[in-house]
């Protein structure tokens, strides 16, 4: 068994222990209502992590996703007042694609550093969305998106969570069973080798950012739907949680590690940490410390072996 597989198991065991201990000590933890909460709460970070996973595997990083979340949510909520819902969502999602495209072109074709490009985009997109929303867009009661946001499948599974869940195997398949996905993974390890093997490295790298932008926009649309409102100041620092989830799941900044399953585990872990700390009544400030320590322990389990 590989070391990474062992780390995944160790990590899984840790999560299960956390669940059992919490369940024993806090009755509410395993109630349907709380589980639905946890499920709903992981959707935004989860979708962002999916896109972030792809970008991190390509050897990059994307700090602009938080701003894209806000912009897409604002567009979806704002436009659906004047046009069909489908069109509003399509426009919102395509803004994510455009942001990803700009990131990708600057990074892959202009060869700028991903950190600085997406940092600049983070600010620029935030500025643009505030300009767009001169009068901030607020949800209305008719706000159709409520159905999407508050709806449940079989009366139990939140629709937003189901959408997130459905995206996981799609991305897993893409990364592991398509030429494009394999190329993106290889690019994260050695782009020159991949280029000399006849892959259009620039196009594939750009694709990674486009995918990330798309998922960020999707997260934004679903968040607006869930809250029943869109706010221009939403999404600040969301990129950090997404990056943390990917890294907790075994991802390595700069490329070369982590699986989709691990990333999913990271998302679950982060959502559980927040929920459990709330259930245990841990005060806000202590939460931040405890969360930091838990993240460090999670990545300690996965550190590279001594050579």
């Amino acid at each position: 068994m590989s070391r990474a597989a062992k780390a995944n198991i160790l990590f899984g065991v840790g999560v299960v222990v956390l669940i059992i201990v919490t369940a024993l000590m806090q009755e509410v933890f395993l109630t349907e209502r709380n589980m639905v909460n946890v499920a709903r709460q992981m959707v935004t970070t989860g979708l962002l992590s999916i896109g972030m996973y792809v970008v991190i595997r390509s050897g990059g990083i994307d700090l602009s996703v938080g701003s894209t979340v806000a912009f897409a949510g604002l567009l979806a909520a704002g436009l659906q007042e004047t046009m069909p819902v489908g069109a509003a969502i399509a426009i919102a999602l395509s803004v994510g694609v455009v942001v990803g495209l700009i990131n990708g072109v600057l990074i892959a074709y202009m060869r700028l550093q991903p950190f600085i490009v997406t940092l600049a985009m983070m600010g620029a997109v935030r500025g643009a969305l505030f300009i767009y929303s001169e009068t901030p867009t607020y949800a209305t009661d008719k706000f159709f998106l409520k159905t999407l946001g508050a709806g449940k499948i079989f009366g139990v599974v939140p629709v937003t969570f189901a959408i997130f869940l459905a995206c996981i195997p799609v991305v897993w398949f893409f990364m592991n069973h398509t030429r494009s996905g394999r190329s993106i993974m290889a690019i994260g390890m050695n782009p020159e080798t991949v280029r000399l093997a006849g892959v259009n490295v620039r196009a594939q790298t750009t694709l990674a950012y486009v995918i990330c932008g798309f998922f960020a926009a999707l997260a934004g649309v679903l968040l607006a739907a869930r809250l029943g409102i869109s706010q221009p100041s939403v999404g600040v620092a969301y990129e950090l949680d997404a990056i943390a989830a990917v890294v907790i799941g075994g991802g390595i900044l700069g490329g070369g590690g982590g699986t989709v399953g691990g990333m999913f585990g990271g998302v679950i872990a982060l959502a559980l940490i927040d929920n459990v700390l709330n259930l245990f009544n841990v005060q806000s400030y202590y939460q931040q410390i405890v969360k930091g320590v838990i993240i460090l322990i999670a990545v300690l389990l996965r550190r590279k072996p001594d050579s």
């Binding site: 993974m185 290889a186 050695n190 080798t193 280029r195 093997a197 892959v199 070369g256 590690g257 072996p305």
Partner: protein
């Protein structure tokens, strides 16, 4: 250091037993050659002596006393210096700083004494016979062979007690090799013990006093060099005699497969040649003669400045690697760590990288088919360990090379294969297999462009030779009708600029 003994040294990496039981002793002023197949454990053993790894079992004795070498720094203090198998220079730092890394001279206040540094580094390069080097320039400005000499200079600078040379000549050409051998003789006379690892048998027999053979992590044979023969080393290393190193040369060439006319690129001036189907065309030349640059320009790895390349009647202009591959070109590059491999990926992903279109339907890859296909190929190349999920970084150098070969052999519609130093770091038994493979590929009608700095290899394999000098082809020869000296003269003659 009067003597150093390795006593039942073993090292495991998780489940892998890199070394099982290595025992031998070396004495003052002795050159001990260490031979063994790829993955036999040579580099691992040396890394233990160099303090960069700790043995799992066994111990080391210096002058009869058991010692524990705990870190590279500790090894330095004991006078142990190492030239590692893989280049480990910092290309952006000056030559001088690379030479003195970790021991930069400082003045009384802790400020680095640059004047002393430049002077001392210059002295070192002169002592090595390379006075033309500007030690203030970044090391990366120099070609690989010269960089390797920097590594050597760095290691011998302090007159080490024990010098470990792990395949130092892999990237060297004759001139540098001669300089190195002269230096080894000098150090030896001064009492340094030298461990010398090489896959080149001629070299081993020429330079060493004693030969130790490792097989599967065990020291299996040991004898003074004059009692060792080529065949005995191979027998001990491989476990069976090798029959013939070079396969018979079959000259059954078809029509022209690839025609290169007036190729120009940085460092390449007006290069033209034809390659026939079934032909192995060898490229000789000194370091910096531009052989690699020609190949990179043909393949589209670097931009071209002019010239035409035609493959099977189809022109390949404005090339990118992708277009070159579509035209039937494959390219085993020279620096495997830099552009040949994704070291953190496994065998499957590396070897399967250039052939994904073969087993894809649309964008979807058939991973099972890929696994089968890659497995068959690496099995044919006798990869060790034969495990598709093995991470390349943990493989021995020679086996890494096999993975690269597998990658290109799997490419669909391969018509012309460019091999830039394909056997660098590869053990003798595998070399023989690779030679046979090259001959077979040629026999099937493929065209082969072969660059090698090992003269016997290129003389033994090629059907025709192009000798390059300063970015031009200056001579064309037939191997059976020439010799190393003649080639060297053509390669080294300084051309006067045309009037």
């Amino acid at each position: 250091m009067q003597q150093i003994s390795l006593i039942k040294v073993a090292k495991s990496f998780g489940a892998t037993l890199a070394l099982r039981e290595a025992s031998f002793t070396a004495y003052r002023g002795e050159v001990v050659a260490i031979c063994g197949e790829n993955g036999a454990g040579k580099s691992t053993l040396m890394s233990i002596l160099a303090g960069s790894r700790m043995p799992t079992l066994g111990h080391i004795e210096i002058n009869g006393k058991t010692v524990l070498i705990t870190s590279p720094h500790d090894a330095f203090d004991r006078g142990i210096r190492t030239v590692y198998q893989e280049l480990s220079l910092l290309p952006d730092l000056s030559v001088a700083e690379n030479l003195f890394l970790g021991e930069l001279p400082v003045n009384g206040w802790g400020r680095i004494d640059w004047a002393t540094l430049w002077a001392d580094a210059g002295t070192e390069m002169v002592a090595l016979g390379m006075p033309e080097i500007d030690v203030r320039r970044p090391a990366g400005d120099y070609p690989v062979a010269v960089q390797q000499m920097f590594e050597i200079a760095k290691a011998i600078r302090n007159k080490p007690e024990l010098l470990i040379l792990d395949e130092p000549t892999g990237v060297l050409t004759q001139r540098e090799t001669d300089l190195l051998f002269a230096k080894i003789a000098e150090l030896k006379a001064a009492g340094t013990i030298i461990f010398y690892i090489s896959h080149r048998m001629e070299e081993v027999l020429e330079i060493s006093d004693r030969v130790v053979v490792l097989k599967d992590g065990r020291s299996v044979d040991e004898a003074p060099a004059d009692m060792m023969t080529h065949d005995r080393i191979i027998q001990s290393m491989v476990g069976r005699p090798l029959e013939k190193i070079y396969p018979p040369r079959v000259r059954d060439h078809g029509p022209v497969r690839m025609s290169v006319q007036g190729l120009r690129a940085p460092g390449v001036h007006d290069v033209s040649f034809d390659l026939k189907a079934g032909e192995i065309l060898g490229f000789c030349g000194l370091v910096g003669s531009g052989r690699s640059e020609v190949m990179r320009a043909i393949f589209g790895a670097d931009p071209r400045q002019g010239g035409d390349v035609v493959i099977d009647g189809v022109p390949l202009n404005a090339p990118t690697p992708k277009r070159a591959m579509a035209a039937g070109l494959g390219f085993v590059t020279e620096e495997r760590k830099v552009d040949g491999l994704a070291l953190d990926a496994d065998v499957l992903d590396n070897a399967g990288l250039a052939s994904m279109s073969r087993i894809s339907r649309g964008p979807v890859l058939n991973r099972r088919a890929q696994r089968d296909m890659v497995f068959r190929q690496v099995q044919k190349l006798d990869l060790r360990p034969l495990e598709l999920s093995y991470i390349l970084r943990r493989m021995s150098g020679g086996n890494q090379q096999k993975v690269i070969l597998a990658k290109w052999l799997l490419m669909q519609g391969l018509k012309v294969l460019i091999l830039d130093e394909p056997t660098r770091g590869v053990d003798i038994a595998t070399k023989v297999e690779i030679y046979r493979l090259i001959a077979d590929l040629a026999a099937q009608g493929m065209g082969i462009l072969l660059i090698s700095s090992e003269m016997p290899e290129i003389l033994g394999l090629a059907h025709r030779l192009c000798v390059m000098n300063s970015g031009r082809i200056v001579a064309e020869m037939v191997p059976e009708e020439t010799n190393e000296h003649e080639i060297f003269v053509a390669a080294a003659t300084v051309e006067r600029p045309a009037a």
